[in-house]
Subunit: 156 residues, 3 copies
């Protein structure tokens, strides 16, 4: 089954690729590596989750926010290479979690995105990962994700 | 017009490349990718901006700090490959903004660097970007930038 | 002298490679670049250092925590490519330091890892570096490190 089919089978639809609000772009490809801009938990331009873990947002909500954030990264991958089927391997994901004093379960939050990557891409979705707790994130979101993805050549 | 000429036309001069204060180096090149160390808003060894956004430093000052920080990254690129004209593409920039509780306009701060990249390099300056709000930065600076740049071979 | 011999000569033994506690993996290799997951100051599954710099953990303890954290990264490198002797160059290290309000000596903390890289790998250990102060880290650790390493082909 293709990754695009798998996404549909999971009942998931990707949001409209988020528009960068400044002089940067959603992705840059160098050779077979696709470097993606940071994405946040929005759907079609609207922020869906706001606040900090450990204060306003529960761990479970954070997990869901992390899944939605990942869908925005996937939307950018599709924008870059036309189809998720061009993903060869998810290389690295950095997960930034807006964390109130004392919240140290960043991994449980970022698991929302990690689990979904493996559900969609199987072994190709198994990635190196970094999860850290930051002070604040743009627009007050609880999660921001940054990915590096290895892609197949367009001809294959 | 070359990127070096464009820099001069904008009336900009690069600071002396900042000296790493420990056992690391300003850049490492692997193939055509140049990985740059984090840089801060200094000029010739002196920190120019201090404090946190949302408390000590205004958004406008943050924008200026971000521009100056970028000039230090450019100084390191020139140190690495002799001339900014060897830049093929700015691949990714991560912007860390020292953020007081409640400051969520990190993108507006990092725009200082993003806008300047595009002013100097045009389309080659359009980069993937991540902007996050951190608790503290080295030496109390408000902004730290990290870049990955694709460079042309020395012979071209 | 090989890097493995140098490690032994320094009296250092690597911890058991830390097990990712979720659906990610300790490393992903693309071409000659090895992207490593974030590691923390643990030994054989037990967290050794806890707390924040500037409050619970002194700069000197942070330096030691940073060294131990690096050993976990090295354990993952050995897991990935069988021997530290396959390291061609340490490309980039990002050091995240859990920082209490006002602590701005992140570089002094991350020096523990940087110094050890150069002790073991010599010039091949000289890396590009980023050091930032974050709000919180997983499991309450004071330091997390993320590395990108260039490796030699298996045949060499």
């Amino acid at each position: 089954m293709s990754f695009e089919q798998r996404l549909a089978e999971l009942g998931l639809t990707l949001p409209t690729p988020p528009k960068p609000v400044a002089t940067y772009v959603p992705f840059v490809q160098v050779g077979n590596l696709l470097f993606l801009s940071g994405v946040v938990p929005s759907r079609d331009g609207q922020i869906v989750y706001k606040g900090k873990l450990g204060r306003d947002v529960s761990k479970e909500e954070g997990y869901e926010a992390s899944k939605l954030t990942l869908l925005n990264a996937l939307a950018n991958i599709r924008l870059a290479v036309d189809s998720l089927d061009r993903v060869k391997r998810v290389v690295k994901m950095t997960g930034y979690v807006a964390s109130h004093e004392g919240f140290t379960e960043q991994p449980a939050v970022i698991n929302g995105a990690s689990d979904l990557l493996v559900e969609i891409f199987g072994d190709a979705g198994r990635h190196a990962r970094v999860a850290v707790g930051v002070a604040e994130l743009p627009l007050g979101v609880p999660v921001e994700l940054e990915l590096i993805v290895e892609v197949l050549p367009a001809s294959s």
